[in-house]
């Protein structure tokens, strides 16, 4: 006997950041009965705390701050009348049937059982922690992940610390380095284990070089010391195998450690449904409409793959909504055949994982190693573009038309070939 409130929808969007908001807007525009669920008490996700520009260059052809970018979507939501609930947490997802999933949602009004034909999962990513990166030593106060530090500073106006060491040179870490420096804190160093920076070069310039913040490549923090609060970190140089080189240890005095060591798609709820995961992205395997291995469950944004640009995340949200529409109208995504997208030379990851050849597709990929003066190719369809430089931190975007893709027979392969490459 259940007193739970039950409702029926065509689309449930889980996660109210840019991907989810874009998905909910598009799904609503397409005439689907849609509801957007957000755990926090505000919508907006990460862009709400991104006070720096670099958003919207693709989508709006304007250079906006994260905050301005997400506000555009708030306006659209209000205009169209997208239905949403905040302070709503998804307890579990049940797969009942092809056209029936159940999403159990805990809200302040009680538990809502939502029966929906499709789900769009846009919960974003989680940050790697101190322990995941193998740092030993004390566990004092004064250690924050970069996202947490950003929320403290740029939503709540709290300064996390004064003398900062940042672990990881991905964009999040670089952005926070600049924020700390602007507010008068001393960023003693950014420590990066790889021999090249983890984030966009523009950010290395405007976040580190502009402020004379040292970037220590091929270095790692091996331990932290501090009684009540952080007092110092021990840093070591590493070899090509990322092993500490004995005798190269040195200490940096600091009161704050910010960990920007990478993001991982947050797929806990989906893992319980035994979904197919791509170990390269850490996220679900998807077809060109971003449908996962579970029919009618779509993923977009950082929950699918860690994106560099919020613009891509928004596009993915919209694509997922379009996929949901097609799924509902056709009782499934129609395709003659699903062809795998294969990773060739120097491609570490690529989405989507399957294409039909019947629709145009945007492929997003990342290289494993930086290279200069290369061609990015998809030989089966005759695609070939020149790039001055490719870097792991910068996604490569391939827009392939339906006509081009129809040439593919069994699969498509993305590969990187230097100009002077001889097979």
């Amino acid at each position: 006997m259940s007193n739970l409130i039950e409702e029926r929808y065509d689309v449930v969007v889980i996660g109210g950041g840019p991907a989810g908001i874009a998905a909910a807007i598009r799904a609503t525009e397409l005439g689907l009965k849609t509801i957007l669920l957000e755990n926090r008490d505000v919508l907006g996700g990460i862009p709400l705390q991104c006070v720096h520009p670099g958003f919207g260059l693709h989508y709006f052809k304007e250079d906006l701050t994260g905050t301005q970018f997400i506000h555009r979507f708030f306006e659209r939501m209000e205009k169209i009348g997208v239905e949403y609930i905040t302070s709503a947490h998804v307890h579990s997802i049940e797969y009942r049937d092809y056209m029936e999933k159940v999403v159990n949602v805990i809200t302040r009004k009680g538990v809502l059982r939502i029966y929906s034909k499709t789900i769009i999962y846009t919960v974003g990513a989680r940050e790697r922690t101190l322990f995941e990166i193998g740092v030993v030593g004390d566990r004092p106060d004064g250690i924050y992940t970069a996202g947490e530090a950003q929320t403290m500073m740029d939503i709540y106006g709290v300064l996390p610390g004064k003398d900062v060491v940042i672990i990881g040179s991905g964009d999040v870490g670089l952005i926070m380095a600049r924020r700390f420096a602007l507010e008068g804190a001393r960023v003693k160093a950014v420590i990066e284990i790889m021999p090249y920076p983890g984030g966009l070069m523009r950010n290395v310039v405007q976040c580190l070089r502009d402020f004379n913040i040292p970037l220590l490549l091929s270095h790692a923090v091996i331990s932290i010391a501090g009684k009540k609060r952080v007092e110092k970190v021990t840093v070591v140089k590493v070899d090509e195998g990322f092993r500490p080189i004995p005798g190269t240890e040195f200490e940096i005095a600091c009161d704050t450690v910010v960990i920007a060591a990478g993001l991982r798609p947050n797929i806990d709820l989906l893992e319980r449904l035994s979904i197919a995961i791509d170990p390269a992205t850490g996220g679900p395997m998807v077809n060109e409409l971003l449908e996962t291995s579970i029919p009618g469950i779509f993923v977009a944004g950082n929950a699918l793959v860690i994106n560099d640009l919020a613009d891509y995340v928004v596009e993915q949200g919209e694509k997922a909504a379009e996929g949901a529409k097609i799924f509902i109208e056709n009782s499934g995504i129609p395709a003659e055949e699903w062809k795998p997208v294969k990773r060739g030379r120097n491609i570490r990851l690529a989405i989507p994982h399957y294409i039909s050849g019947e629709r145009s597709v945007t492929i997003l990929a990342r290289v494993a190693k930086p290279e200069q003066r290369v061609f990015v190719e998809v030989p089966e369809v005759g695609y070939k573009t020149f790039h001055m430089a490719v870097r792991p931190a910068e996604m490569i975007r391939l827009d392939l038309s339906k006509d081009a893709l129809s040439k593919a027979e069994k699969s498509v392969t993305i590969e990187v070939k230097p100009i002077a490459y001889r097979a």
Binding site: V42, V51, P53, Y156, L182, G184, R202, V205, M388
Partner: protein, 120 residues
């Protein structure tokens, strides 16, 4: 006098590597994938400018801070002065997107980039 240097363009995520050649004849830029890169390189070697972004406290709002950005980029050596101008600013909700919050600092002003509603 002839100087050659390499710059990374920061205008967009392409982060093009620019090869800049400065001589009496002028500034020559190569490696850009759009025309903006040429202007950027020229500016960067003569008078580098940057946008400055920060937050200031807001009383009585649904969020306790509002994010700000300079309307126009300011010379790099002015960044500190812009930041110091925000040191004692405290505002009252509501704040509209685009509202001018601090005027006349380093030849520009700081505008709100987030809407802050009055707290209910």
């Amino acid at each position: 006098m002839h100087t050659e240097l390499e710059l990374t363009c920061i205008l967009c995520p392409m982060s093009c590597t620019l090869k800049v050649s400065i001589s009496d004849a002028g500034i020559d830029v190569r490696g850009n994938q759009c025309t903006k890169g040429v202007e950027y390189a020229k500016q960067e070697v003569t008078n580098p400018v940057r946008h400055v972004m920060t937050v200031v406290r807001v009383r009585g709002g649904d969020i306790p801070t509002v994010s700000l950005i300079t309307s126009k980029p300011v010379p790099k050596n002015c960044i500190e002065r812009v930041m110091e101008a925000t040191a004692y600013v405290e505002l009252e909700a509501p704040i509209e997107l685009g509202q001018v919050v601090i005027k006349d600092v380093c030849g520009t002003s700081l505008v709100a980039t987030r809407r802050v509603r009055k707290a209910t």
